[in-house]
Amino acid sequence: MILKTKDLTKHFGGLTAVSKVDLQVEEGQIHAIIGPNGAGKTTFFNMLTGELPVSAGSVFFKEKNITGLKPHQIARTGIGRSFQQNKLFLNLTVLENVRLAEHAHHKGHFNFFRHFLFFNPPLEKAMQILEELEMEEIAALKAGELSHGQQRTLEVAMALAAEPELLLLDEPTSGMSPDEAVKMIRLLKKLGDQLTMIVIEHNMSLVMSISSDITVLYQGSVIASGKPSDIADNPEVRKAYLGGQA
């Protein structure tokens, strides 16, 4: 069990965005979280990574309670994430974005007097990640100059820099053209061989083709959880998605 949540809950004032969610993710899984808009998927992610404080319940990563830790502390335990909206360092180059993400996990990032280019390991690792994702050619472009699809890929590259054991991806293909989405799916499949992933996604063909397990959220609660084939046939899921006309 790499990640476990117990009764995880988030209230915003009187609104309960996420209600008592129990999620268990085994090592090596690609676990998809699906659900209609407003189901609480991103809120759930933000609680896992410390971006939002938890109202109730707890999060365990590798049996360790990480509830209430700050985002940078959780990032260092081995959880990497990408964001639903691109959150990049737009005025910095692609390589610098990845190098910064990488250097947080190496020595010397608080060094005042050494020129940053003298730290070779993070630099080499960043180049290696760009090569793996076939982004070498755009390394010198500013992140703000990239196409949307390229920015989504850079999001994943930065999440990978942390060498995470668990990767959380928030709608990796959102806003992508079909061609770009196909590339992304191929990339995610490849990454799925190396690490555990939790993916929030709307693109059902992507979900069905890559995930080993699916959890369906509806109005903040889990209404179904299981293998892709079970979920596809689940009447409650159909109801939630199709508005009761199943």
Partner: protein, 331 residues
């Protein structure tokens, strides 16, 4: 690829620094008032130190006057009461500037945006009133008078005189250049790159594993160290510390110089300080209400030159480069 994406490794001293030193060296000979030149460099140093916060970390601090004043009073006080080596007195100014910045920063960085700005402003006023009330130590309203400016020796036998305007200018210039070299290296260090990341997107910087509160606080302390140094030099320059040194207006001076010169680079605030100090000297002789002219100029600059004077200069240079490349290609 690395060079295209990240630039070159810069040695501590390169052409940029030498060009800067040469330009500054000419200042006292082209300006009408010799006593103005040390003051320009002192303010330029304060503006550069302020720009570490606004231009690189993205924090608009109105507390720089408190740091400048702390450095000035500390340097003045140790020179008056302990008669120590001037360089040691300056170091005291740096340290008190850094310590004051630590305290102001510690509380202020817990907030962002307008609340952060108001906190730094409130701290500046707090320090001002402490100085104002503590007459026995600081001289209160009258300022701290009779700060000595003794000659000193670095090695036994080599006496450095700093009495005349030119001598003192050279002394300030050497310290200024050294400070710029160190600040440039700090901004190009791995630490400095994280500051830029925080300015760009603090949420993301935290998500990839940086403790942004530590970085912001350290950025404050570094800025305080060099602002304190500028304050110490000011005490030596004036041979006293006027209470205006610790006023809010000192903070806004640094802000205006940085904005006018350009936030994006190390050299923008230097250009801003040079322009504002010279212009205010010349315009104030012609018209007593010169601040009005400054105000209008400032508004025009902010509206039409968001990159500041330095941004304009680099844009022109780049355009020329692009044009000559074009010409080469069409041949």
């Amino acid at each position: 690829m690395i060079e295209a994406a990240l630039g070159k490794k810069k040695p501590l001293i390169d052409r940029e620094i030498i060009v800067l030193a040469v330009i500054l060296l000419f200042l006292p000979f082209v300006l009408p008032y010799k006593s103005l030149t040390p003051e320009i460099l002192i303010y330029a140093l304060g503006a550069v130190a302020f720009n570490i916060l606004l231009g690189y970390t993205g924090m608009l601090s109105f507390g720089q006057g408190a740091l400048f004043g702390a450095g000035a009073y500390m340097t003045g006080l140790v020179l008056i009461h302990l008669q120590i080596h001037p360089l040691l007195a300056l170091l005291c100014g740096c340290l008190i500037g850094a310590a004051t910045a630590f305290i102001i920063g510690f509380f202020s960085i817990r907030q962002v945006g307008i609340y952060f700005v108001m906190l730094t402003l409130a701290f500046n006023q707090l320090v001002y009133f402490i100085v104002y009330q503590w007459k026995g130590l600081t001289g209160g309203d009258d300022g701290l008078l009779d700060v000595p400016r003794p000659d000193f020796s670095i090695f036994p036998g080599i006496e450095i005189p700093i009495q005349t305007n030119l001598q003192f200018f050279l002394f300030v210039m050497v310290i200024f250049i050294l400070a710029v070299i160190v600040i440039r290296r700090i901004l190009n260090s791995s630490f400095g790159r994280v500051l830029v990341a925080i300015k760009e997107n603090p949420e993301r910087a935290a998500a990839i594993g940086y403790n942004i509160q530590h970085y912001k606080l350290a950025s404050f302390v570094v800025s305080g160290f060099f602002t304190g140094l500028a304050g110490g030099l000011y005490a030596l320059f004036m041979r006293m510390v006027p209470i205006t040194a610790v006023e809010l207006f000192t903070s806004t001076d640094f802000i205006i110089m940085s904005l006018l010169g350009g936030l994006g680079s190390l050299y923008g605030p230097i250009a801003g300080a040079v322009i504002i100090k010279i212009a205010s000297e010349i315009v104030s002789e012609i018209w007593a209400r010169w601040l009005l002219v400054m105000g209008v100029t400032f508004i025009v600059c902010i509206l039409f030159m968001p990159g500041g004077v330095w941004g304009l200069v680099t844009a022109v240079i780049e355009k020329r480069k692009a044009a000559s490349m074009q010409a080469l290609r069409s041949q």
